[in-house]
Amino acid sequence: MIPTHPESGHEPLIFMRFRPAWAYLDGVREFCRFFCEATYPQKDLAERVRVVLQETLENAIKYSTPGQQSELELEVHADPERFLITVTSRPDPRHLQTLKNELSHLAMLDPEAAYLAAFVRAANEPEAPARLGLARMRYEARFELHLAEQIDGRVRITATGKP
Protein backbone atom coordinates (compact mmCIF):
# COMPACT_ATOMS: atom_id res chain seq x y z
CA MET A 1 0.00 0.00 0.00
CA ILE A 2 1.27 3.47 -0.84
CA PRO A 3 1.32 5.65 2.28
CA THR A 4 -0.30 9.09 2.28
CA HIS A 5 1.26 12.20 3.72
CA PRO A 6 0.29 12.52 7.41
CA GLU A 7 -0.73 16.19 7.03
CA SER A 8 -2.08 16.57 3.52
CA GLY A 9 -3.46 13.06 3.06
CA HIS A 10 -2.06 13.09 -0.49
CA GLU A 11 -0.23 10.21 -2.08
CA PRO A 12 3.42 10.90 -2.86
CA LEU A 13 4.61 11.86 -6.33
CA ILE A 14 7.30 9.24 -5.97
CA PHE A 15 7.23 6.24 -3.66
CA MET A 16 9.93 3.58 -3.54
CA ARG A 17 10.55 0.74 -1.13
CA PHE A 18 13.81 -1.15 -1.39
CA ARG A 19 16.47 -2.97 0.55
CA PRO A 20 19.09 -0.61 1.98
CA ALA A 21 21.81 -1.55 -0.48
CA TRP A 22 24.40 0.84 -1.88
CA ALA A 23 23.86 -0.59 -5.36
CA TYR A 24 20.47 1.18 -5.63
CA LEU A 25 21.60 4.62 -4.48
CA ASP A 26 22.94 6.12 -7.71
CA GLY A 27 19.94 4.95 -9.72
CA VAL A 28 17.33 6.18 -7.24
CA ARG A 29 19.06 9.53 -6.80
CA GLU A 30 19.46 10.14 -10.51
CA PHE A 31 15.88 9.10 -11.29
CA CYS A 32 14.57 11.65 -8.76
CA ARG A 33 16.93 14.32 -10.07
CA PHE A 34 15.68 13.66 -13.60
CA PHE A 35 12.05 13.73 -12.42
CA CYS A 36 12.52 17.15 -10.80
CA GLU A 37 14.43 18.51 -13.78
CA ALA A 38 11.70 17.34 -16.16
CA THR A 39 8.77 18.43 -13.98
CA TYR A 40 9.67 21.73 -12.33
CA PRO A 41 10.82 24.98 -13.93
CA GLN A 42 13.01 25.95 -10.96
CA LYS A 43 16.50 25.45 -12.30
CA ASP A 44 18.26 24.49 -9.10
CA LEU A 45 15.59 22.25 -7.54
CA ALA A 46 16.87 19.09 -9.19
CA GLU A 47 20.40 19.70 -7.88
CA ARG A 48 19.12 20.45 -4.38
CA VAL A 49 17.02 17.29 -4.39
CA ARG A 50 20.01 15.32 -5.60
CA VAL A 51 22.03 16.43 -2.56
CA VAL A 52 19.23 15.62 -0.11
CA LEU A 53 18.69 12.17 -1.62
CA GLN A 54 22.38 11.33 -1.62
CA GLU A 55 22.86 12.29 2.00
CA THR A 56 19.61 10.91 3.46
CA LEU A 57 19.75 7.62 1.56
CA GLU A 58 23.46 7.21 2.26
CA ASN A 59 22.83 7.59 5.99
CA ALA A 60 19.87 5.23 5.89
CA ILE A 61 21.87 2.61 4.01
CA LYS A 62 25.00 2.89 6.15
CA TYR A 63 23.17 2.71 9.46
CA SER A 64 20.22 0.42 8.77
CA THR A 65 19.70 -2.56 11.02
CA PRO A 66 20.64 -5.70 9.10
CA GLY A 67 17.89 -8.26 8.51
CA GLN A 68 14.59 -8.92 6.80
CA GLN A 69 12.84 -5.87 8.23
CA SER A 70 15.41 -3.36 7.12
CA GLU A 71 13.68 -2.10 3.98
CA LEU A 72 13.69 1.62 3.51
CA GLU A 73 11.00 3.80 2.01
CA LEU A 74 11.43 6.97 0.03
CA GLU A 75 8.59 9.42 -0.57
CA VAL A 76 8.61 12.66 -2.51
CA HIS A 77 5.70 15.06 -1.98
CA ALA A 78 5.22 18.49 -3.48
CA ASP A 79 2.74 21.33 -3.44
CA PRO A 80 3.23 24.92 -4.58
CA GLU A 81 4.67 25.93 -1.23
CA ARG A 82 6.70 22.95 -0.10
CA PHE A 83 8.81 20.14 -1.43
CA LEU A 84 9.12 17.19 0.94
CA ILE A 85 11.44 14.21 0.83
CA THR A 86 11.01 11.53 3.46
CA VAL A 87 13.20 8.52 4.08
CA THR A 88 11.92 5.93 6.52
CA SER A 89 14.25 3.23 7.78
CA ARG A 90 15.10 1.11 10.78
CA PRO A 91 18.47 2.45 11.98
CA ASP A 92 20.86 0.97 14.45
CA PRO A 93 19.77 2.38 17.88
CA ARG A 94 23.28 3.71 18.56
CA HIS A 95 23.18 5.71 15.36
CA LEU A 96 19.70 7.00 16.15
CA GLN A 97 20.93 8.79 19.26
CA THR A 98 23.85 10.31 17.33
CA LEU A 99 21.43 11.50 14.67
CA LYS A 100 19.09 13.08 17.22
CA ASN A 101 21.98 14.87 18.93
CA GLU A 102 23.30 16.13 15.62
CA LEU A 103 19.92 17.46 14.49
CA SER A 104 19.36 19.21 17.84
CA HIS A 105 22.78 20.84 17.57
CA LEU A 106 22.15 21.95 13.98
CA ALA A 107 18.80 23.46 14.85
CA MET A 108 20.56 25.97 17.11
CA LEU A 109 22.70 27.38 14.28
CA ASP A 110 21.89 29.11 11.04
CA PRO A 111 22.68 26.90 8.02
CA GLU A 112 25.87 28.67 6.97
CA ALA A 113 27.31 28.78 10.48
CA ALA A 114 26.42 25.13 10.97
CA TYR A 115 28.17 24.14 7.73
CA LEU A 116 31.29 26.07 8.67
CA ALA A 117 31.23 24.49 12.15
CA ALA A 118 30.97 21.05 10.54
CA PHE A 119 34.02 21.81 8.37
CA VAL A 120 35.99 22.97 11.41
CA ARG A 121 35.05 19.83 13.30
CA ALA A 122 36.03 17.63 10.36
CA ALA A 123 39.37 19.45 10.08
CA ASN A 124 40.04 19.06 13.80
CA GLU A 125 39.06 15.40 13.91
CA PRO A 126 40.70 13.85 10.84
CA GLU A 127 40.16 10.28 12.02
CA ALA A 128 36.47 10.71 12.88
CA PRO A 129 33.57 10.31 10.43
CA ALA A 130 32.96 13.44 8.35
CA ARG A 131 29.40 14.17 9.55
CA LEU A 132 29.04 16.97 7.02
CA GLY A 133 25.91 15.61 5.35
CA LEU A 134 23.18 17.02 7.58
CA ALA A 135 24.68 20.50 7.64
CA ARG A 136 25.21 20.29 3.89
CA MET A 137 21.51 19.57 3.28
CA ARG A 138 20.53 22.69 5.19
CA TYR A 139 23.12 25.04 3.68
CA GLU A 140 23.70 23.80 0.15
CA ALA A 141 20.27 22.31 -0.56
CA ARG A 142 18.27 24.72 1.62
CA PHE A 143 16.15 21.94 3.15
CA GLU A 144 15.27 21.78 6.83
CA LEU A 145 15.34 18.42 8.55
CA HIS A 146 12.99 16.74 10.99
CA LEU A 147 13.21 13.35 12.66
CA ALA A 148 10.20 11.36 13.87
CA GLU A 149 10.22 7.98 15.60
CA GLN A 150 7.30 5.80 14.53
CA ILE A 151 5.29 3.37 16.63
CA ASP A 152 6.64 0.44 14.61
CA GLY A 153 10.21 1.35 15.63
CA ARG A 154 11.18 2.90 12.33
CA VAL A 155 12.55 6.40 11.96
CA ARG A 156 11.35 8.94 9.43
CA ILE A 157 13.60 11.76 8.29
CA THR A 158 11.73 14.54 6.55
CA ALA A 159 13.54 17.16 4.53
CA THR A 160 11.40 20.19 3.71
CA GLY A 161 12.31 22.93 1.30
CA LYS A 162 10.76 25.50 -0.99
CA PRO A 163 10.36 24.29 -4.57
Binding site: E55, Y115, F119, A130, R136
Partner: protein
Protein backbone atom coordinates in the same frame (compact mmCIF):
# COMPACT_ATOMS: atom_id res chain seq x y z
CA UNK B 1 61.59 13.54 -12.98
CA UNK B 2 59.17 15.19 -10.60
CA UNK B 3 57.40 13.31 -7.84
CA UNK B 4 54.06 14.58 -8.98
CA UNK B 5 54.44 13.12 -12.48
CA UNK B 6 54.84 9.69 -10.91
CA UNK B 7 51.43 9.73 -9.21
CA UNK B 8 49.30 6.84 -10.38
CA UNK B 9 45.65 7.95 -10.54
CA UNK B 10 43.06 5.59 -9.06
CA UNK B 11 41.03 3.55 -11.51
CA UNK B 12 37.35 4.27 -10.91
CA UNK B 13 34.47 4.09 -13.37
CA UNK B 14 32.81 7.37 -12.39
CA UNK B 15 35.83 9.47 -11.46
CA UNK B 16 38.91 10.49 -13.39
CA UNK B 17 42.02 12.19 -12.07
CA UNK B 18 44.73 13.52 -14.35
CA UNK B 19 48.10 14.82 -13.26
CA UNK B 20 50.01 17.27 -15.42
CA UNK B 21 53.46 18.17 -14.16
CA UNK B 22 54.59 20.38 -12.67
CA UNK B 23 51.51 21.43 -10.73
CA UNK B 24 48.11 20.71 -12.28
CA UNK B 25 45.58 18.15 -11.04
CA UNK B 26 42.30 17.82 -12.95
CA UNK B 27 39.34 15.89 -11.61
CA UNK B 28 36.20 14.89 -13.49
CA UNK B 29 33.07 12.83 -13.01
CA UNK B 30 31.35 12.15 -9.71
CA UNK B 31 32.38 10.82 -6.31
CA UNK B 32 29.43 9.18 -4.57
CA UNK B 33 31.00 5.96 -3.34
CA UNK B 34 30.62 4.55 0.13
CA UNK B 35 34.09 5.32 1.47
CA UNK B 36 35.96 7.89 -0.64
CA UNK B 37 38.54 8.27 2.12
CA UNK B 38 39.58 4.67 1.72
CA UNK B 39 39.64 4.76 -2.07
CA UNK B 40 40.96 8.27 -2.76
CA UNK B 41 42.37 9.62 0.50
CA UNK B 42 45.73 7.96 -0.05
CA UNK B 43 46.02 9.42 -3.55
CA UNK B 44 45.23 12.95 -2.34
CA UNK B 45 47.87 12.56 0.37
CA UNK B 46 50.41 11.31 -2.19
CA UNK B 47 49.75 14.35 -4.36
CA UNK B 48 50.21 16.64 -1.36
CA UNK B 49 53.50 14.99 -0.41
CA UNK B 50 54.72 15.02 -4.00
CA UNK B 51 53.97 18.74 -4.26
CA UNK B 52 56.03 19.33 -1.13
CA UNK B 53 58.87 17.14 -2.40
CA UNK B 54 58.88 18.96 -5.74
CA UNK B 55 58.87 22.31 -3.97
CA UNK B 56 55.98 23.71 -6.00
CA UNK B 57 54.81 27.12 -4.84
CA UNK B 58 51.31 26.61 -6.13
CA UNK B 59 49.27 23.50 -6.87
CA UNK B 60 46.23 23.93 -9.11
CA UNK B 61 43.36 21.51 -8.55
CA UNK B 62 40.80 21.87 -11.32
CA UNK B 63 37.45 20.47 -10.16
CA UNK B 64 35.25 22.14 -12.80
CA UNK B 65 34.35 18.79 -14.34
CA UNK B 66 33.69 17.14 -10.98
CA UNK B 67 29.96 17.57 -11.12
CA UNK B 68 28.72 15.84 -7.99
CA UNK B 69 30.20 14.50 -4.76
CA UNK B 70 28.87 13.18 -1.47
CA UNK B 71 29.79 14.76 1.83
CA UNK B 72 32.37 12.06 2.54
CA UNK B 73 34.19 13.24 -0.57
CA UNK B 74 33.95 16.88 0.50
CA UNK B 75 35.78 15.72 3.60
CA UNK B 76 38.78 14.82 1.40
CA UNK B 77 39.06 18.47 0.36
CA UNK B 78 38.71 19.57 3.98
CA UNK B 79 41.61 17.30 4.91
CA UNK B 80 43.77 18.53 2.04
CA UNK B 81 43.09 22.15 2.95
CA UNK B 82 44.04 21.40 6.56
CA UNK B 83 47.36 19.88 5.48
CA UNK B 84 48.37 23.01 3.61
CA UNK B 85 46.94 25.40 6.21
CA UNK B 86 49.02 23.76 8.95
CA UNK B 87 52.20 24.17 6.88
CA UNK B 88 51.58 27.85 6.20
CA UNK B 89 54.54 29.48 4.45
CA UNK B 90 56.46 26.19 4.48
CA UNK B 91 53.88 24.63 2.18
CA UNK B 92 52.32 25.72 -1.09
CA UNK B 93 49.30 27.63 -2.25
CA UNK B 94 46.43 25.24 -2.99
CA UNK B 95 44.43 26.82 -5.79
CA UNK B 96 41.04 25.30 -6.59
CA UNK B 97 39.68 26.05 -10.04
CA UNK B 98 35.90 25.83 -9.66
CA UNK B 99 32.71 26.36 -11.60
CA UNK B 100 30.32 28.59 -9.67
CA UNK B 101 27.36 27.24 -11.61
CA UNK B 102 27.83 23.90 -9.84
CA UNK B 103 26.16 24.25 -6.48
CA UNK B 104 28.39 22.01 -4.37
CA UNK B 105 31.50 23.79 -5.66
CA UNK B 106 30.09 27.26 -5.01
CA UNK B 107 29.06 26.49 -1.42
CA UNK B 108 31.75 24.11 -0.22
CA UNK B 109 34.87 25.79 -1.61
CA UNK B 110 33.85 29.18 -0.23
CA UNK B 111 33.66 27.59 3.23
CA UNK B 112 36.95 25.80 2.63
CA UNK B 113 38.65 29.04 1.75
CA UNK B 114 37.50 30.67 4.96
CA UNK B 115 38.92 27.68 6.81
CA UNK B 116 42.25 27.55 5.02
CA UNK B 117 43.10 31.25 5.04
CA UNK B 118 46.00 32.34 2.84
CA UNK B 119 46.91 28.77 1.95
CA UNK B 120 43.80 28.36 -0.21
CA UNK B 121 42.89 30.30 -3.34
CA UNK B 122 39.78 30.00 -5.46
CA UNK B 123 39.31 30.68 -9.14
CA UNK B 124 35.59 30.58 -9.90
CA UNK B 125 34.19 30.75 -13.40
Amino acid sequence: MTQISQIEPPQLTSFQLNVTAPNLIAMAGTIAISDPGLVLGGCFRQIHEAALADGVRELVVDVRQLTFVNSSAIRLFVDWSSWVAILGARGYLLRFRTDRRITWQRTSFAVLQSLGGKSIALDGE
